[in-house]
């Protein structure tokens, strides 16, 4: 009886409260769908040709300045890298030989390493502070022909598009996901909103091929570009035997530029 009395009292009080100030409500629910957008705009010829038909071109190489322009727009933190690829006719890490000239001299090697191609980016990589390698990007000037160096040698990874490691070269950003801007990624943004003559979202790429004489391509290097006894250059002689040289002919390969969310 007592409990019932309390219940009645509570109900009465509740009823009284519900009849207090008049109120009405309406909800507006806003859902935001932020879809990731990564956009790489590239201006480049369909084919960049290097024709070596003069001795000085073998000695000094051929440089194609500003042949490729890369423009980045991304809504997420990003990395950008280049990787050497081919169809694998001569092997996954070699140029595809389309045509050979002359006889088949046993010292003439048709397997030209993809890393013989050198890149130079006009804008340094400002997202590679945590990089572990000697050459975090391709911003160094092309080295003289008599000073072999892998600092501009194109990154190659077994003919795959696997991202470079912390010791290898990126164009923008680098390996790792530290979450610290500038350490291993460049933040989202677009070249469209950048001002000034330099931008982390705009890169001009030069290409050089330097065969040397004999044509061994002395600038070809391993992925990290360093030179050591255990990590020699990747030129024709080092990769094969002394006295070997590149077989004359027509060769093709391609450079794949990959823009991806910070990895």
């Amino acid at each position: 009886m007592k409990k019932l009395s309390y219940l009645c009292g509570a109900l009465l009080m509740f009823g009284a409260t519900a009849n207090a100030q008049l109120i009405d409500e309406k909800d507006v629910t806003v859902t935001m769908d932020l879809q990731p957008v990564l956009q790489l705009d590239m201006s480049t010829p369909d084919q960049i040709e290097f024709v070596f038909d003069e001795i000085n071109e073998y000695y000094a190489g051929i440089t194609k300045y500003g042949a490729t322009q890369l423009r980045v727009s991304s809504t997420v933190s990003w990395d950008l890298y280049a990787v050497g690829r081919s169809t694998g006719t001569n092997g996954p890490e070699y140029w595809d030989q389309q045509l050979e000239y002359g006889n088949n001299n046993p010292n003439a090697i048709p397997n030209l390493p993809l890393s013989l191609l050198e890149l130079r980016q006009a804008q340094a990589n400002n997202g590679a502070a945590a990089a572990g390698g000697t050459y975090p990007d391709y911003s160094a000037a092309f080295s003289p022909s008599n000073t072999p160096s892998g600092q501009n040698s194109l990154y190659v990874n077994g003919g795959t598009s696997t991202p470079p490691s912390t010791n290898d070269k990126y164009i923008g950003g680098h390996a790792g996901t530290s979450g610290i801007p500038g350490d291993d990624f460049l933040p989202g943004g677009s070249y469209l909103t950048q001002t000034g003559i330099t931008s982390n979202y705009f890169y001009v790429i030069d290409y050089r091929i330097l065969p040397g004489l004999p044509a061994i391509f002395p600038m070809a290097a391993q992925a990290d570009g360093t030179i050591a006894a255990a990590n020699p250059l990747n030129d024709i002689e080092s990769a094969n035997a002394v006295g070997n040289y590149a077989e004359p002919g027509v060769y093709t390969m391609y450079v794949q530029y990959i823009l991806l969310e910070d990895q």
């Binding site: 100030q21 309406k26 629910t29 879809q35 957008v37």
Partner: protein
């Protein structure tokens, strides 16, 4: 028999006493609480939930933002009681809710789904702006985008406890009885929403709720 009669009469007396006590309690409580009611009806028409989706899938919308004009219309109807009370007036406020019970930090949008690696940060509540407007500009914040900061933040559209400003005056803070049918320019509020994410946040699906709360002034 006489004893039984005494027991019964005692029980009836006690019940009657209890009944009287409850009657008095109820009377006073009802009188006291109902004293706050000055209006006969206070409602938003319709008061059903509005769901809006903002999809950002290109750089134009990321950089320039998206505005959804008139994402909702808050139409108000406030009526006097049968016996008119001159103190009948109302207030309208908006409250932001990011479902903190689900673990959402106080100053962020509620994350429903994340795309990609999620190495960045989630968007803060300040990224959403709300604009209220009507033809008479009755709200002090009319036409100006406002932003919330944390869950539970309140922005007044018509501030509570203001003196009564009658309908039909097309003035600031109209809060007297009336409705959107007879005084549309004062009793209708168009709600606009703007979000400008730029390139700073984790891609994903996020949600916020804005509650429009209409209440008569005590």
């Amino acid at each position: 028999m006489e004893r039984l009669f005494h027991i019964l009469s005692y029980s009836i007396c006690m019940s009657f006493t209890k009944f009287l006590v409850y009657l008095l309690l109820t009377f006073f409580s009802v009188i006291e609480l109902k004293a706050q009611i000055h209006c006969g009806l206070v409602e938003i028409v319709p008061n059903t939930t509005v769901n809006s989706l903002l999809t950002f899938d290109n750089f134009t919308s990321y950089g320039g933002g998206m505005i959804m004009n008139s994402v909702a219309k808050i139409r108000i109807r406030v009526q006097d009681k049968a016996v008119v009370d001159p103190l009948c007036s109302w207030s309208l406020i908006m409250i932001v809710d990011n479902n903190p019970g689900g673990g959402t930090p106080a100053n962020e949008w509620e994350e429903l789904l994340q795309y990609g690696s999620g190495s960045g940060v989630n968007p803060p509540i300040t990224e959403m702006e709300v604009r209220v407007r009507n033809s008479c500009s009755t709200s002090p914040i009319d036409g100006v985008f406002q932003a919330f900061t944390n869950n539970g933040d309140i922005i007044d559209i018509i501030t509570p406890l203001l003196p009564v400003t009658p309908a039909g005056s097309c003035a600031l803070n109209v809060n007297g009885p009336g409705d959107y049918l007879s005084n549309y320019d004062e009793f209708n509020f168009d709600i606009d929403i703007r979000v400008t994410p730029n390139f700073n946040y984790n891609p994903g699906i996020y949600q916020l709720n804005v509650r429009f709360h209409l209440e008569e002034n005590p």
